[in-house]
Symmetry: none
Subunit: 413 residues, 2 copies
């Protein structure tokens, strides 16, 4: 295909749902007024999608990796590197990353508070971060960033590091921080480094001004770090390498940003983009149009609001989030419709009735001004089941989008 388009992928987080009595037995997507989505369904191709596989309830991280074309099982790096990217750090292949908590321990490393009181001032964050970032143990360098409240992300950079180590966190107060063991022989070095790091971090943290002040105020000291969710950045080729594309992410939530950046997307910040119903849909539309007009080949737009409404059991707000996204997509396509191939989908089902992720497949549709329409006329769970694409998997989305957009070369002669 010579005519290259920009591939646009809009994810309404937690879009899939189940019948709701309060909506006359319809799921929210079916009850919402979605003129743009219905036009796209009429002119495009629909499917139901098992994002991971039949019967499997996707997590947000595994779902997005699959939707970006990565095997969510074989290529899943664990939470650490995704959180690090989400926090603004950047792992490279071979790095091992963790989620981190500031914690309070006594002189024997017995955990007194797993979150060190939870609240910190920006100044405290800055001093704690400075104390931890840049630690060196043998040939391994530590990167650390404080994020929200007691949370942070920590990266180990060095040769021969692996994530298969036992827990640091005893997960209970009144217990000592655990001595880490290697869970496979290759991880011996990492276990040794982590044990030493926990000790060095404690030494550095205990004397900080922050803790003198917290002691005066009767606040729990931040004198230790608890590391969780170790993950190794494996040798997965990022999107530019795998598909030869320049890819952008427009998302508010840290984890979605983290997943997108892990696979090589560039973050395009949008003023007022949040994870809630109050996110600035107009700004997202404008920035998406701008990005499509720039030299990006793929743009991922993430709308978190439907999932938040689902977790709150709020059907009305879920409908509102869907309707606002419908309008937003209309604005985008009015401007650049002739230049794109677009897919609209959920990343998983979060039934308002359940308030948690569930295993039900989600609706998806593909549209461009040249695509072969099927007989579906609306965007809903029930209608998508009748689409020409039948049932697809999350990992199929990227090839279909990029295939239509002209970025996948003919296979064979």
């Amino acid at each position: 295909m010579s005519d290259k388009r920009t591939a646009v992928f809009v994810v309404l987080d937690g879009l899939g749902d189940r019948p709701l009595k309060e909506l006359g037995g319809k799921p929210p997507l079916d009850a919402a007024k979605t003129p743009t989505f219905d036009k796209l369904a009429t002119e495009g191709q629909s499917a139901l999608m098992n994002v991971i596989g039949p019967g499997i309830t996707p997590g947000s991280d595994t779902a997005h990796l699959a939707l970006f074309g990565y095997d969510p099982i074989a290529e899943y790096p664990g939470r650490g590197p995704l959180e690090a990217f989400g926090a603004g750090l950047e792992t490279k292949p071979g790095d091992v990353a963790f989620r981190s908590n500031f914690a309070t321990v006594d002189d024997n490393m017995v955990v007194l508070d797993r979150r060190a009181g939870r609240t910190f001032t920006p100044e405290e964050h800055a001093e704690l971060q400075a104390a931890l970032d840049g630690i060196e143990i043998d040939d391994v360098k530590v990167q650390f960033i404080a994020t929200v409240e007691h949370r942070g992300a920590l990266i180990l950079k060095g040769e021969g590091l692996y994530a298969e180590i036992s827990d640091v966190d005893p997960h209970e107060t009144g217990k000592k921080i655990l001595t880490v063991r290697a869970l496979k022989p290759e991880a011996e070095k990492t276990a040794k480094i982590v044990n030493e790091l926990i000790r060095v971090a404690h030494e550095r943290m205990r004397g900080l001004e922050t803790n003198k002040e917290r002691a005066k105020k009767g606040l729990p000291l931040a004198n230790a770090i608890l590391l969780r969710g170790p993950g190794r950045h494996s040798d997965v080729p990022p999107l530019p390498e795998r598909y030869g594309i320049k890819a952008a992410v427009i998302a508010g939530g840290a984890l979605y940003l983290g997943c997108a950046k892990y696979v090589g997307m560039e973050h395009i910040p949008v003023e007022g983009q949040t994870g809630t119903i109050d996110t600035n849909f107009d700004n997202i539309a404008m920035k998406t149009i701008e990005t499509i007009k720039a030299d990006y080949n793929y743009v991922f737009v993430h709308i978190k609001a439907p999932d938040n409404a689902s977790h709150d059991g709020n059907a009305k707000e879920k409908i509102l989030a869907i309707e606002r996204t419908d309008t937003m997509v209309g604005t985008i396509l009015d401007e650049v419709g002739d230049d794109v191939v677009i897919a609209i989908a959920g990343d998983h089902t979060t039934p308002v009735s359940v308030r948690e992720h569930a295993c039900d497949p989600v609706p998806i549709m593909f549209w461009s001004n040249f695509i072969r329409p099927d007989s579906v006329k609306r965007f809903s769970e029930k209608d998508a089941a009748k689409g020409a694409l039948h049932t697809i998997k999350g990992i199929d989305v990227m090839p279909i989008l990029l295939g239509y957009a002209g970025y996948i070369e003919k296979f064979g002669a």
Copy 2:
């Protein structure tokens, strides 16, 4: 998902069929009156299912392994262990099991009758079984059970046993029992043990009272065993381990019981449950309700009658078997419908016109009181093809059932 249900799986054996002239061009399921099934189809989700794969005609054993969530190719242990479980013995990982025939040989081990006349009294069975069960050869112990007519099951228990050996049975009379060879180096020990076992069994059997009596009556002597279908119980994790569930089987036929017990289900016996149209459907319904109300997380109910009717070429009886199962499922759901996720399916197609298993996909549907309905209104081959689940594989059934029932944890965060 916090709300856990009991997963119920009802298999109508050989349910799938082809159009029949005598039924106005309909297959039996389509011609049957099935008010319960049609209600479930209307409120649930349908699919067609390739139990093994497209174009592959399933055996009963491989079909059920797939339906229980096991890879029917990679995790198939061969017939031996399944028959052993069906006969009431129990293999453990590492055991090698066989189907066994009593046979008649002459002094040179030339086979004169591959079934030793076929009929045996209970007393003969008991004496033969006692002579064979408990044989020890080197460090290998033999378990043996006589089952029906000349048939039995035999297990070898010991270290380093493998099933890759050549045939014992010459499959023709007038030929000597074959000397077994290892088909891979690891199986040398097993080949040696089996050759010695055939000799020892002959020694023990020839002098039995049973054979003195049979000689007097002019009946063929049961003075040898022919072993067939070697299989090794591999290290497949049983259902309780794989999914953390307590699973029950309600089935009459030995092979279905064998498959179910091989994967770790507990047998719930039902008075009057047989493999025929005269099976006691009411008792099966009552026992199924009782099992669902007990602490089982998964209940497999097997109805053999439709397959028997198909093998007999009896469309009327197949319809009757389907209609009685429909009523039975109605009784079950009237009582415990709010507590279950249920799937109804065939395990393979047995066209009345063919009288043997065939490769055609089979209808399946999933129902619970929370599931998203598709647009299908009836349970039939033709209608199932329009279901929201499109085409699934046998191995998908367990994840879908257990996913909806709440026994599969979210994958990722």
